[in-house]
């Protein structure tokens, strides 16, 4: 058996890894991975914000119901959430849904649950006196939350949000399971076609994911240091 490494296969399929079959077919590869991650990130920012605010609601019923929901989503594997969406989305929409929607819906739901915890912690990190001061100047509770607490809390949350985005990029690889042709799926396709270069192919995409995620992790660490520095002066 030939056990040498042959990286030619990577160069030959580079366009496929990067953009899939585009422009002759749908977008795929790394570009689709980024698209799935960015769209899900934006949606789960709002999802996490809503769930996070409901988690600190003054209404006990709303608070407990939201916490139960968030913890239930956090308690099951993402793969399960994807399968649920695969069944539920066509039923909710009343017509067949594209696989990429299934994945975006699942990633959004899953990440929103984690983001809500960040939002909750961010809100709780703001001293209670701020809310009291805001209320005493005549703002309502919701106004105080929206204009006084949240803007300050959001700044503290930025590093955690970036980390969550890194998780999201890694999680998009699960789109493979419903046949969305993002980077991991493209890699398995190239592997099935070429047969004898699995080590090279999977090492290559691992490095691609690594470069992307490591750069963002470093960004988050830098933001965290900057934030600590700003607080110290």
């Amino acid at each position: 058996m030939d056990t040498g490494f042959h990286f030619q296969v990577i160069w030959d399929n580079m366009a496929h890894f990067m953009i899939g079959r585009y422009p002759s077919g749908p977008v795929g590869g790394l570009l689709l991975t980024l698209y799935l991650a960015v769209v899900s990130c934006i949606l789960s920012f709002f999802g996490g914000m809503i769930l996070g605010l409901l988690c600190v609601s003054r209404n006990r019923l709303i608070r407990y119901a939201t916490l139960a929901f968030v913890n239930a989503v956090r308690g099951i594997p993402l793969l399960m959430v994807i399968f649920w969406m695969y069944f539920l989305l066509p039923w909710l929409l009343g017509r067949p849904a594209p696989e990429s929607w299934t994945v975006i819906a699942a990633l959004t739901l899953f990440t929103s649950a984690y983001m809500s915890q960040i939002v909750q912690a961010g809100i709780e990190s703001i001293p209670r006196g701020q809310m009291e001061a805001a209320l005493s100047t005549g703002l309502g509770h919701n106004q105080a939350m929206l204009y006084i607490i949240l803007p300050q809390a959001l700044r503290n949350m930025i590093p955690s949000f970036v980390n969550q985005f890194v998780s999201l990029i890694k999680d998009t690889s699960l789109a493979f399971i419903v046949g969305v042709s993002e980077l991991t799926h493209v890699a398995t396709q190239v592997n099935n076609r070429t047969m004898v270069y699995p080590t090279e192919i999977f090492a290559f995409i691992a490095v691609l994911y690594f470069i992307l995620c490591f750069a963002l992790t470093e960004l988050s660490r830098w933001l965290e240091r900057r934030l600590a520095w700003r607080k110290s002066i």
Binding site: T3, G75, I76, P77, M80, F83, A187, T199, I201, Y209
Partner: protein, 235 residues
């Protein structure tokens, strides 16, 4: 979904029930084997990460950063499809004669989780005041012995809650082993679905099992936190 008829008997008795039970068994087995190995490997990496020797530290940092910043699924595929080129021949032979799918899943889950555990252990160790190390060294312990007898026993106690959470993550992550044909819980739920078209029932059952596991583990962390780490209610 009009016309879907629920039939819970499919998953509460008979053949399909036993498929799910065997799935739970494999999930538990896969998670337990991997968490033990991941703990040992994570401990080793954490110690290397704090080594006084620069190059040793860099290798440990490289390991941590690489495996934390790469999707688990890609790592599973790498070990399952691609490991034959980098593992020694005798190990390949041995793996091929045994359950190669299970072994690949264990390798990937162990390495992935060990990178997270190493960071948890490191923050546990760093939370021990450095005077402890200095006092141990000055009373004649070598660096390794001081680690072994003074620092690690205290650090492990603090690290147990994050370790239990890592075990929970590992259990959830073990669902990815289905992609290479390990017949764990998610795999079996999908099998039941494709044989009976009773997807709702099968996935409800699997979801409930995962939820029960998470609730049990979360309760364990809370109890440990309250009884062991913080017995008199101080913060």
């Amino acid at each position: 979904m009009s016309g879907y008829e629920f039939d819970w008997s499919v998953i509460t008795s008979g053949q399909y029930f036993w498929w799910l039970v065997s799935g739970v068994e494999i999930t538990v087995k896969l998670s337990l084997v991997s968490i033990v190995l991941a703990f040992l490997l994570g401990l080793l990496i954490a110690i290397l990460r704090m080594s006084p020797l620069g190059p040793v530290r860099w290798v440990a940092v490289g390991y941590l950063e690489f495996f934390r910043n790469t999707p688990l699924l890609v790592q599973i595929f790498f070990w399952y499809f691609g490991s034959y080129k980098i593992l020694p021949l005798f190990l390949n032979d041995w793996l091929n004669r045994h359950d190669f799918e299970f072994a690949s899943a264990v390798i990937a889950l162990t390495i992935y989780t060990s990178a997270f555990i190493a960071e948890d252990i490191r923050s546990g160790i760093r939370s021990i005041p450095k005077e402890q190390m200095e006092a141990a060294r000055s009373s004649g312990f070598s660096y390794v012995r001081a680690m072994q007898y003074i620092i690690l026993p205290q650090a492990v106690r603090i690290t147990i809650p994050p370790l239990i959470s890592q075990f929970l993550n590992l259990t959830k992550n073990s669902s990815l082993a289905m992609t290479i044909g390990v017949a764990e819980l998610t795999y079996q739920a999908r099998q039941v679905e494709s044989y009976t078209f009773k997807g709702f029932e099968a996935f409800t059952a699997a979801t409930l099992v995962y939820l029960v596991i998470s609730v049990v583990i979360t309760v364990m962390v809370t109890v440990y936190d309250r009884k062991v780490l913080n017995p008199i209610g101080m913060r």
